[in-house]
């Protein structure tokens, strides 16, 4: 039976590497598709709004654990043989795009209507109205919530263990199974998560405070 030494710590840090990688994949993929979801959710097209509303409801209404599972094995079941990485990337992208889409929809809708009207009156078209006028303001409004979700996502990557990723939590579980000190190991794992998430949370809170003073 091993004790917790440098080897084990190093093993945890190896797991951390995957945690970070998974987070980035989810955040970037989710960011790109989340933008599309947000745009569809605020579009004039009724069907587009309906479909994205349903999409968001499904992904916000089921545990991430199940989403990972269903995507990972469901995709394989319909005969597509895809790499684990790709499957996880798809699952996190779907998950994150639903959440980010909803957050950014809120941001878009919080931009005063007069902004769109002024842009239209100037003759601008939809892509330019969105890119030049609405989205920059919407992102600023939604920044704190976006950071909040990022923290959520970091913690959520622990569930990628179900498809065999040895990220931080799973690494912790493995070390705990070798050392039989689950408490110490999980305290350590918790501390590592805290050290990553906390600065982000603080940054988010600062942005929020700044936004509030700006709107006063």
């Amino acid at each position: 039976m091993a004790s917790i030494g440098p080897n084990e710590i190093f093993f945890l840090l190896q797991g951390l590497k995957w945690t970070v990688a998974l987070t980035l994949i989810g955040f970037i993929g989710g960011g790109v598709f989340g933008l599309l979801v947000a745009l569809a959710r605020t579009a004039d097209h009724k069907l587009a709004r309906r479909i994205t509303a349903g999409y968001i409801a499904v992904f916000q209404g089921t545990p991430l654990l199940m989403q990972l599972f269903v995507v990972y094995y469901g995709v394989a079941l319909i005969g597509l043989d895809i790499d684990a990485w790709l499957a996880v990337a798809i699952a996190f992208t779907l998950h994150a795009s639903a959440f980010l889409g909803e957050i950014w929809r809120g941001g878009i809708q919080a931009v005063p209507k007069g902004q769109t009207e002024a842009a239209k009156a100037l003759g601008l078209h939809y892509p330019s109205i969105m890119k030049d006028v609405i989205l920059p303001q919407a992102f600023k409004i939604a920044l704190p919530a976006t950071i909040g979700f990022l923290v959520q996502l970091i913690k959520g990557t622990s569930l990628a263990a179900i498809v065999g990723f040895v990220e931080l939590s799973r690494a912790g579980q493995i070390v705990s199974n070798q050392t039989f000190r689950p408490l110490t190991v999980f305290a350590l794992v918790g501390l590592i998560y805290f050290l990553i998430c906390w600065p982000l949370s603080l940054w988010g809170a600062r942005q929020e405070a700044r936004l509030q003073t700006a709107s006063r």
């Binding site: 005063p112 007069g114 902004q115 009207e117 002024a118 842009a119 239209k120 009156a121 100037l122 003759g123 601008l124 078209h125 330019s128 030049d132 006028v133 920059p136 303001q137 600023k140």
Partner: protein, 253 residues
């Protein structure tokens, strides 16, 4: 050339315009023609449909009946006719609606670059001309929030002018301003009027109406009740509702 032919033809023409918000009948059989260079002041009680009327002209609202024609282009739901009309018609809002994340200069060059495909240097030169004209060129690099209300409204006017429209629509451009700032904006508008800009202006500033309007149009309950030259309109309104309305405004001022 048709251009010179139409010099005396109406620049903006509304014929039998009807507009509903759901089941609410907001504009009823509105007929209005505005010739090139004409200045129209639109007044009427709150809720009478003044904003709705001018918002229909550049298709911020759709109409359900009648037709709106701007410079010979009939405004339909087609993207092309909307684009054509919006290019000819500038609009200034009560609440300025400057883009807060862009400097005044950036506010001014956005549409010329994106809509007209103008080069940045050219767009900036144009913007400088109009910012100079509304006398806030020195504020060009500030953000809207750093300006006073009067300056912001003048910036909004300059932004609309940068598209070099043939006509300008104003929706109560001074009513969100502190009293000290009303004058600077009105002066800017008077200057524009002097230079021959075609204008439709919703306002209750009767001094302004007297000074620059060719015609005052009075609306109530979605209808145009009466119109006429300012002197005649103010001295001798024909309708009971116009008289009641004028009595009320003048009492306040």
């Amino acid at each position: 050339m048709p251009q010179s032919d139409s010099a005396h033809a109406p620049l903006i023409a509304l014929e039998g315009v009807g507009k509903w918000y759901g089941s609410y009948h907001a504009l009823k059989n509105v007929n209005l023609t505005v010739r090139k260079g004409e200045k129209i002041v639109l007044c009427g009680p709150s809720g009478s449909g003044k904003s709705t009327l001018i918002r229909c002209i550049n298709h911020l609202e759709e109409i359900q009946e009648g037709s709106i024609t701007v410079e010979g282009t009939r405004l339909t739901d087609s993207g092309r006719s909307i684009d054509a009309v919006r290019r000819e018609v500038g609009m200034v809002f009560q609440s300025f609606n400057l883009f807060p994340h862009k400097t005044i200069m950036e506010n001014c060059i956005l549409a010329p670059m994106r809509v007209k495909g103008m080069e940045k240097a050219k767009a900036e030169a144009v913007a400088r001309t109009y910012l100079e004209r509304v006398r806030i060129l020195d504020q060009a690099d500030k953000y809207p929030a750093q300006l006073s209300g009067g300056q912001q409204q003048r910036a909004a006017i300059a932004r609309a002018l940068c598209m070099e429209p043939k006509a300008m629509l104003f929706d109560e451009p001074t009513s969100a301003l502190d009293p000290e700032m009303v004058k600077e904006v009105l002066d800017t508008m008077i200057g524009l009027a002097r230079d021959g800009m075609t204008m439709i202006c919703v306002t209750h500033e009767m001094g302004f109406a007297r000074q620059v309007a060719d015609r005052v149009v009075f609306m109530a309950s979605g209808e145009i009740i009466e119109e006429g030259e300012p002197e005649i309109f103010f001295r001798n309104p024909q309708h009971q509702r116009t008289r009641a309305f004028l009595g009320e405004i003048l009492a306040h001022h």
